[in-house]
């Protein structure tokens, strides 16, 4: 069980000192899917961005380590870090509509990675891209390679992005809410596709989402995030049976169920929120000392 991604005590702050991520640690192991759940604004996406080096300008990593396949990338020089990230990790972005360059054809957008990262020739890369498009069940890959993104539907584009993420056989893939921008029927297909591809390629997958239903379908382990702090780290089965942290339990209770469609939703009780916030304040106090 090698961890392709290990984050240790990662703290990210806004310029001015407000922490966005507080002492985050987590591991993503080869062949497994690690879920990252939390409310919007909890910092889920920021973890992915910190790993991939695409944090917004206003945020800086103040302390911590990010180990990518045995190397702490935060100790590397910028150009080396970029190359290491490119060779080991890939991203499945949230919004398929803005994640493909509108002025380029699909083909070159996939093959570019292969030529850049693996140093393949154009022909080999094209053959590989065709295989991948077939693998993500795109009909008529030869024609799709020649189209522009605007000619394809959102679901098709997300399939292409998945193919493109797996193209260079990365050890780690970060999926940042990959189904949020899609409608429910397509969501299900895309989830199954990501899951299948991950199993087949034995990739470590960090799956960022706010949807506990999605987590239960694809993940092996998960971290629950609140205000940039990991409040619970658990294996899937245990988490859904016996959540330890009161916030996790409240989050689970807030999930609507199919068996009781008329039942009203349970919000996270204010008492629980207050308790978590207290916990975070104490953490910040300790960090300052």
């Amino acid at each position: 069980m090698t961890a392709y991604l290990s984050i240790r005590n990662l703290t990210v702050t806004l310029t001015g000192g407000t922490p966005i991520l507080r002492n985050v640690s987590l591991d993503v192991v080869a062949g497994q899917v690690h879920g990252l759940v939390g409310e919007s604004g909890a910092g889920k996406s920021m973890i992915g961005k910190a790993v991939l080096g695409t944090l917004p300008r206003a945020l800086t990593i103040s302390t911590g380590e990010i180990w990518l396949d045995g190397v702490n990338i935060l100790t590397l020089r910028a150009s080396q870090r970029r190359q290491r990230i490119g060779a080991i990790a890939a991203l499945i972005p949230q919004d398929p509509l803005t994640a493909l360059n509108p002025s380029k054809r699909i083909g070159p957008q996939i093959t570019r990675r292969l030529v850049d990262i693996l140093g393949w020739s154009k022909q080999v890369a094209t053959a590989r891209a065709l295989d991948l498009l077939a693998e993500v069940q795109i009909p008529d890959p030869v024609r799709v390679m020649r189209t522009y993104p605007h000619e394809l539907s959102g679901g098709m584009r997300q399939r292409i992005l998945i193919a493109s993420a797996f193209a260079a056989e990365p050890k780690l893939i970060i999926a940042d809410e990959p189904t949020t921008a899609l409608d429910v029927t397509v969501q299900k297909q895309i989830l199954r596709l990501i899951s299948d591809m991950q199993t087949r390629h034995n990739t470590a997958l960090l799956f960022v989402t706010h949807d506990l239903g999605v987590v239960s379908k694809v993940c092996d382990t998960l971290s629950v995030l609140y205000a940039g702090k990991v409040v619970e780290d658990a294996r899937m089965y245990r988490f859904f049976m016996r959540p330890i942290h009161p916030y996790s339990a409240a989050l689970l209770a807030a999930t609507p169920t199919y068996t009781d469609p008329t039942g009203s939703l349970t919000p996270v009780p204010p008492k629980v929120i207050k308790a978590v916030e207290q916990e975070i304040q104490e953490h910040d106090m300790r960090a300052r000392r």
Binding site: R82, A87, A90, N101, S103, S153, M156
Partner: protein, 283 residues
């Protein structure tokens, strides 16, 4: 899934046709001016002064659009004037575009101190009254083709810088730029191969607009006699000369004015048409 928009051959559109034809016509007129112009544009003949255009009674055969007060052929002068106008339009337009768009792209994509530096510089620059600035510049440098082009570049590069900066900024926030960076590509590479193709339609539209502006600035400068030597025919110079005899010979003013108007209009319409055609999202 895929519709057949890509396979559809779209008609060129009236706008592109008309503006393109006019500019092509002008281009060839300028290129082959000695062959096309019926008369020598500089030849004076005081006996033939202020002859009306061909459809008015009293016209002199051979002088299609009449003559000015010195007996020079208006049509020939317009054809020769197109040379200077087009050279100024193309050279000044392209250079302004390259300088302004490069700075705008860097400011909009790299942000940080490069952006702060360029943006403040643009702000300061734009506080100068442009035409006054140009006139001052030419007064210092002395009139001439080079001075006109330099004046246009100095006045107008900020237009490109501002628009392209905004455009590059919005493109830079897109996920495909993040993906390119995750794939290990350098910032410069990302800027040139991901951002530039997407701001290119805007650059083209601005470029043609700028050529139109170049034509106007050149005309304004010849109007105040600060263009190249007073001998060689320019549209602005003709308008300025025609102004004094508008009641006796309206054609000396009106024909260069119409040519100027059509040219500037064509440049801006060509730009809009090309933008629509090459913008991958509108396509």
């Amino acid at each position: 899934m895929r519709d057949e928009r890509g396979a559809l051959k779209r008609p060129l559109g009236l706008r592109l046709w008309l503006s393109g034809s006019w500019l092509t016509l002008l281009f060839f007129a300028a290129l082959f001016a000695p062959l096309i112009a019926p008369k020598d544009p500089l030849m004076q003949d005081l006996f033939l002064g202020r002859m009306p255009p061909f459809w008015v009674s009293g016209a002199e055969p051979g002088f299609w659009l009449g003559t000015d007060s010195l007996g020079r052929d208006v049509l020939s002068r317009i054809v020769y004037g197109a040379r200077l106008t087009l050279i100024v339009a193309f050279v000044a337009g392209v250079l302004t575009c390259i300088i302004g768009a490069t700075l705008g792209l860097i400011a909009g994509y790299y942000r940080g101190w490069a952006d702060r530096l360029i943006s403040r510089f643009v702000d300061i620059w734009m506080a100068f009254p442009p035409i006054l600035f140009a006139i001052l510049l030419i007064a210092v440098l002395g009139p001439g083709l080079f001075s006109i082009i330099l004046a246009i570049i100095i006045i107008d590069w900020t237009r490109f810088a501002r628009v392209i900066r905004a455009e590059a900024m919005s493109q830079g926030a897109m996920d495909y730029v993040a993906s390119a960076q995750v794939a290990g590509r350098t910032k410069l590479d990302t800027m040139l191969s991901e951002i530039l193709p997407n701001v290119l339609p805007t650059i083209i539209a601005l470029l043609t607009l700028e050529m139109g502006i170049g034509v106007i600035v050149e005309a304004i400068l010849s109007f105040v006699n600060l263009s190249i030597s007073t001998d060689s025919p320019t549209w602005g110079g003709m308008i300025s000369e025609g102004r004094t005899s508008i009641h006796q010979a309206w054609w000396v003013l009106v024909f260069p004015l119409i040519t100027l108007f059509l040219t500037v209009l064509s440049f801006s319409q060509l730009g809009e048409g090309l933008k629509d055609r090459f913008d991958p999202v509108l396509r």
